[in-house]
Symmetry: C2
Subunit: 317 residues, 2 copies
Amino acid sequence: MAVYTDITDEELSGLLADFDLGAPLSLKGVAEGVENSNFLLETEAGRYFLTVYERRVRPQDLPFFLELLRWIAGRGYPSATPIPDREGRILKTVRGKPCAIVSFLSGLAVRRPNAAHCREAGAGLAQLHLAAEGFAMSRANDLGQAAWAPMFAELTEAAENLKPGLAATISSDLELLADQWPKGLPEGVIHADFFPDNVFFKQGKFAGAIDFYFACVDALAYDVAVALNAWCFEADGSFNITSARQLVAGYEGVRKLSDDERAALPILAHGAAMRFFLTRLHDWGATPAGALVRPKDPLEYERKLAVHRSAPDLVLF
Amino acid sequence: MAVYTDITDEELSGLLADFDLGAPLSLKGVAEGVENSNFLLETEAGRYFLTVYERRVRPQDLPFFLELLRWIAGRGYPSATPIPDREGRILKTVRGKPCAIVSFLSGLAVRRPNAAHCREAGAGLAQLHLAAEGFAMSRANDLGQAAWAPMFAELTEAAENLKPGLAATISSDLELLADQWPKGLPEGVIHADFFPDNVFFKQGKFAGAIDFYFACVDALAYDVAVALNAWCFEADGSFNITSARQLVAGYEGVRKLSDDERAALPILAHGAAMRFFLTRLHDWGATPAGALVRPKDPLEYERKLAVHRSAPDLVLF
């Protein structure tokens, strides 16, 4: 939760002067999103979200994210659609920071997804992959497999501090992932952060996805692997195979996986666990004690890594 | 800004099961309110605010606050109206904490009120005083004049640390306030925290007030004095007499002040500055470094105290 930027009524009126949204009626800072400041904005024209881009998101990536949202919305995907100003611009500025006004997306994230939620989430992910087809812009996955070894080079001491002996284990994981990382799988735009808190439901049905600020072009099946890790582990660290089968079945109800994609899921899931382990380990060390935002525990993903390491055929359906 | 309580989709559904508001459609923690956790809640029936009471607010005071909101809403005052459940209850529980669902109030707080805003605010305050007439419940002002000397007894060292010599100055202020504090002024329900961030505008017009968690029964003119301090000082510490005259004129357009009330405004404003100085000084010392909520600077009110001390006829119109 975070609101880093404070917006005055005058700054808001200045921003809205470029839009056909009428006068502002209310603005509420929302305790949501770690990288950005988010506001619920009500104007005479309706309800919107105002996102001010603060950290992590590189300004040069913003056109990709915003145009992607416009593209998938145009193809009917339920997400927050950027609202263009009178001159058609969707990337705007407030207080000297980049910002965008997007449509308000209703829905509730679920805290403890059950197998039925996993099925819906899988379907929602596949719908995204189809909706993004034909999107002309591209963005490399800067947190993809090639990035992990260089990231870890800076984090060996942090890993050792987290758990003695862990640095060597991670090194050997990284070698295995480099050796076995699948090539040639179908690629496209992936969400890359399709976690339960980024997926909305209404009455138990998939209602949309938010937070596309890790979206990039990579293997579509890798997105499934990220979701399997995020949705199908129980609080006690065990992998719920029923939920996993439902997630994949939901996905395949919309987009069929090829044999190669299915066969690659275990190593992709191992790699996806590595990606979130590494970024959490980095954030864990980089966040000063008492900071406003508590970082997520890297040990959660260390345990998921261990599961994939010890049961490399776990995610086979 | 704060959201202390995390509410799961299951807990929310449990709470809403008692209401005729349909299914929940979205819930957003709002970075607003220091004492409570606030959520924007959307259900099939519309938009609401869910407030979970956390700190400072004593549970035994909640019926007064919530019934007051119901009373003034019933008399047309723009504020957040508590929504009763199917059995008519407005004080509910979620996660073992007291909570209430209230109507959503649109409007924008202004950061730098001008004289026209002050006039509107004065009128809005007087409307509140009239709307609350006849409300049968009562609550003493536990931060009123009688409380200041005992509060300060615990804070002399903190005052000295803030500014050497300040403890003696405050002691002499407190004596003066005790001697000259007016008695017998018209009393009623006062907001007691009618600051710019608790007052909403739409298109420059008063649109409602929020945050009634200091409301109590006290001299109505004291509420005007609190507002004069809160609205009519410039960022450089100077008192804007034009804004102050407009605030009082706006107030008197709705409710006339008696001669006694007018004559009492200077000492009431001096006392109102003392009240906020003391609570800010207390919070300043009580908040650990690096806490989620940054306390407000007590020096702002120390400067306002100094203004009233040196110009005891300043707030005379």
